[in-house]
């Protein structure tokens, strides 16, 4: 909890210092209206932007978990209800599809001197979003548990399966392996990870036709089922929050878990200090002899609404530059794996950066990826419970995707 406390304190300090920050941002006038998801790192960013408020500059923010569901309607109006939308790989897609955000190249050239080249999200050569933090699922394991059983640190899913079998046999831990297998978004995300690990491509090149039914798809599902077979009977309800608690209680020894929770899991002042000290963070495992880690990289960043005045666009961009300035990241290093200049990864962010340097692939920003993700989430549960074959499950996914993609106009 300690690092969170510190960040919360920083948050309070930022809010408190709001009044005197006018000179620092240098914005003459305009209106900055931020729509964002609601979690600590984004609260810090929004609070830092709010510090740019002055008699001539208004800064308002709406941080809500429903941001994804209201952003399209909110940015469609003219002028847009919000000037800044905080987005991720997935949620930027509908904004791009509906042409609701504007290129920021001019503003980057003018005010973006603190940005690093890899923060610029470019579509067709134009900067459409600025990323400021990264997240990915990566390996976490219990050092002492594995060492006691004479197992080396796992590098692949096959290693993990073997290690789980040994731990069970020796009676150390009956269900050492866990994963986010809750049907819906989580389960689909695990499939996406595994499928990329086997080198699969989701779509036939240049088309919106799903291409998951091949060998890589079956292999990915078979591996997921093999993992599930080592887990406790309730594996179909496992998700991040619950697994975090299970991990703290010492029930599990290995998982491919979101980097964003690594801070809480390895927190020496948290609920389970022994487990925290024993947890090692590493790059996501590979699978099937592949070299790419079986995971996807995610970024959070911001985009500028299209339907706003140039004055508001400039004010918003400059306020956001202030919000993601290097000193924000250095003041709150533990709040996220920042992509900001001068940020030194904390021990909790090591897993994320190792995974990035191991060459993991970003989550595809394709217009129809979300539809495939939903189809996967809805149709893999029967296979995972042994009620149908992998081929049948993939055929169901493809059928569901085809229906949805036809309706959305991507397939004829």
């Amino acid at each position: 909890m300690k690092h969170l406390m510190k960040s919360s304190l920083a948050l309070c300090a930022l809010i408190a210092s709001g009044g005197m920050a006018f000179a620092e941002c240098g914005i003459e006038k305009g209106s900055v209206r931020i729509l964002s998801n609601d979690f600590l790192a984004l609260q810090l960013v929004a609070a830092a932007a709010e510090a740019c408020a002055s008699p001539t500059v208004t800064v308002t923010r709406n941080l809500t978990a429903e941001h994804k569901n209201i952003q399209i309607a909110a940015l469609t109006t003219n002028p847009a209800t919000y000037t800044v939308a905080v987005v991720a790989n997935g949620s930027i897609v509908p904004l791009l599809n509906d042409d609701l955000i504007q290129p920021m190249d001019d503003l980057v050239a003018k005010y973006g001197q603190d940005l690093q080249p890899n923060q610029l999200i470019k579509i067709d050569g134009k900067v459409m979003a600025i990323a400021f933090m990264a997240n990915t699922q990566h390996l976490m394991y219990r050092k002492s548990v594995l060492e006691a059983a004479g197992i080396a640190a796992p590098k692949t899913y096959e290693d993990m399966l073997a290690a789980a079998a040994v731990l069970k046999e020796k009676g150390v831990m009956p269900n050492a392996l866990v994963a986010n297998f809750k049907p819906g978004w989580d389960l689909a995300q695990e499939f996406v990870n595994m499928y990329l690990g086997y080198g699969g491509e989701f779509f036939e090149p240049g088309t919106a036709n799903a291409a998951i039914s091949g060998e890589a798809g079956v292999k990915a599902l078979t591996m997921m089922k093999a993992l599930a077979d080592t887990m406790g009977p309730e594996y179909m309800t496992y998700e991040t929050v619950m697994l975090g608690q299970s991990w703290g209680a010492g029930e599990a020894g290995m998982m491919n878990m979101w980097g964003s929770v690594a801070g809480a899991i390895t927190d020496p002042a948290g609920a389970a200090p022994d487990v925290a000290a024993d947890t090692v963070l590493a790059a996501a495992p590979t699978v099937g002899g592949g070299t790419t880690p079986a995971t996807t990289l995610w970024w959070d960043g911001f985009a500028l609404a299209k339907n706003i005045s140039p004055e508001d666009a400039e004010a918003s961009f400059r306020a956001m530059m202030k919000a993601i300035a290097p000193d924000m990241a250095t003041t709150n290093p533990a709040a996220a794996a920042w992509l900001i200049k001068g940020y030194q990864p904390t021990p909790a962010a090591v897993g994320v950066f190792e995974t990035v340097s191991a060459g993991a692939r970003p989550y595809p920003m394709l217009p129809y990826m979300g539809l495939l993700h939903t189809a996967l989430g809805d149709n893999l549960a029967e296979f995972m419970q042994g009620q149908e074959t992998a081929e049948q499950a993939l055929a169901d996914v493809t059928a569901a995707y085809n229906t949805a993609a036809t309706e959305a106009g991507f397939l004829k």
Binding site: V93, D99, G370, Q385, G409
Partner: protein
């Protein structure tokens, strides 16, 4: 009552309902006949913090022109209703011809999302509604007989399942039925089966959801019946006693007929609410084993980054149709009663 007075009295109520419910229903019904325009795609290079790749993108200018010409999208007729995510007519026809046995046909049918959802929705509605009515009736009978002084608190505690927000109610219950939780662990001990996990098997998940449904809705029927019991005429009860009716006969021939109109009301509301079951499926992470029409709608609107309005609209219209069919017997009865009253 003259027409003019009637409509003056009804005006505010009709106004809000027409504006916020009827108009959206009409627009949803209309929307369900359309799908998105064919997307115009171009290949572009996109870069993120990790790498650059060639990717397909929607061409926004071309799409804007299409939407300008036809804002509702591409006319699709009833095809959305008959596609694989809804009534799946083509799939069923194929299945009917190819399935070797009735069992295989049934399995194939249950693999179609709409019918899978319908199976749970109907089971849930059919089991929970009568149980809620019966349980509520007996609770009402029993609480009606307790001393006046403790009635207040007893009624409050009886209402708790209905008034604790399901968001947290199901979260806490979900934890309690975990195999590590108090209910899960106790059941394991009672049945002496350490492998027993309520969240794991489809049958047990259904049973859990149905139990939750009864628990959550019983207070509603209880409070309505309890109130109804207060109006049972004392002299009818007494004369029944004098005629030598047993306790059970008095309940059967005096109390139940008296409460019949309330039973209709509760059944009407409960059938409708249960047919739209949604919250427990999410709260209990039960999507692997149970799905409902409302869950399908939710998944269309919130599951993907781009909401599928046409598909959600079609499922919503089918839900309304389902409710109307379910309520048909009650509606016909009301119509007859009305015919007697009307002049």
């Amino acid at each position: 009552m003259p027409h003019r007075t009637f409509f003056l009295f009804m005006l505010p109520s009709l106004f809000v309902m027409l504006l916020f419910i009827a108009a959206p229903i009409v627009s949803v019904a209309y929307q369900s006949l359309f799908v998105e325009h064919d997307q115009v795609m171009t290949e572009v290079e996109s870069c993120d913090p990790f790498s650059c790749t060639k990717e397909m993108r929607v061409d926004p200018t071309a799409m804007a022109a299409l939407r300008e010409a036809a804002p509702m999208g591409k006319f699709n007729g009833l095809a959305t209703y008959t596609n694989a995510r809804h009534l799946a007519t083509a799939e069923i026809a194929t299945l009917w011809q190819t399935a070797p046995t009735m069992g295989a046909f049934y399995d194939g049918l249950m693999n179609l999302p709409f019918y899978k959802a319908l199976a749970f929705t109907l089971t849930y509605t059919a089991v929970v509604t009568p149980l809620v009515i019966i349980l509520g009736f007996f609770i009402a009978l029993a609480i009606n007989a307790i001393p006046q002084i403790i009635k207040g608190p007893v009624i409050f505690f009886s209402l708790l399942p209905m008034i604790v927000t399901p968001l947290i109610g199901s979260l806490v219950l979900f934890w309690m039925i975990d195999s590590q939780g108090i209910i899960g662990a106790t059941l394991q001990r009672i049945f002496n089966d350490p492998g027993l996990a309520l969240k794991a098997s489809p049958t047990l998940t259904w049973a859990t959801l149905i139990t939750y449904g009864v628990w959550h809705s019983a207070p509603f029927s209880f409070i309505v019946f309890y109130a109804g019991l207060q109006t049972v005429p004392k002299d009818t009860l007494e004369s029944a006693m004098i005629d030598g009716a047993t306790r059970w006969e008095r309940v059967r021939y005096v109390i139940i007929p008296h409460l019949m109109p309330l039973v209709t009301f509760v059944a009407l509301m409960q059938l409708m609410d249960h047919f739209r079951v949604f919250e427990p499926i999410v709260g209990f992470s039960a999507a692997a084993n149970a799905s409902s029409l409302s869950y399908l709608i939710y998944s269309d609107l919130r599951g993907a980054e781009t909401p599928l309005f046409g598909s959600a609209a079609a499922t919503s219209m089918l839900t309304i149709l389902g409710v109307v069919i379910l309520l048909m017997p009650v509606l016909i009865r009301t119509w007859r009663d009305f015919g007697r009253k009307a002049h």
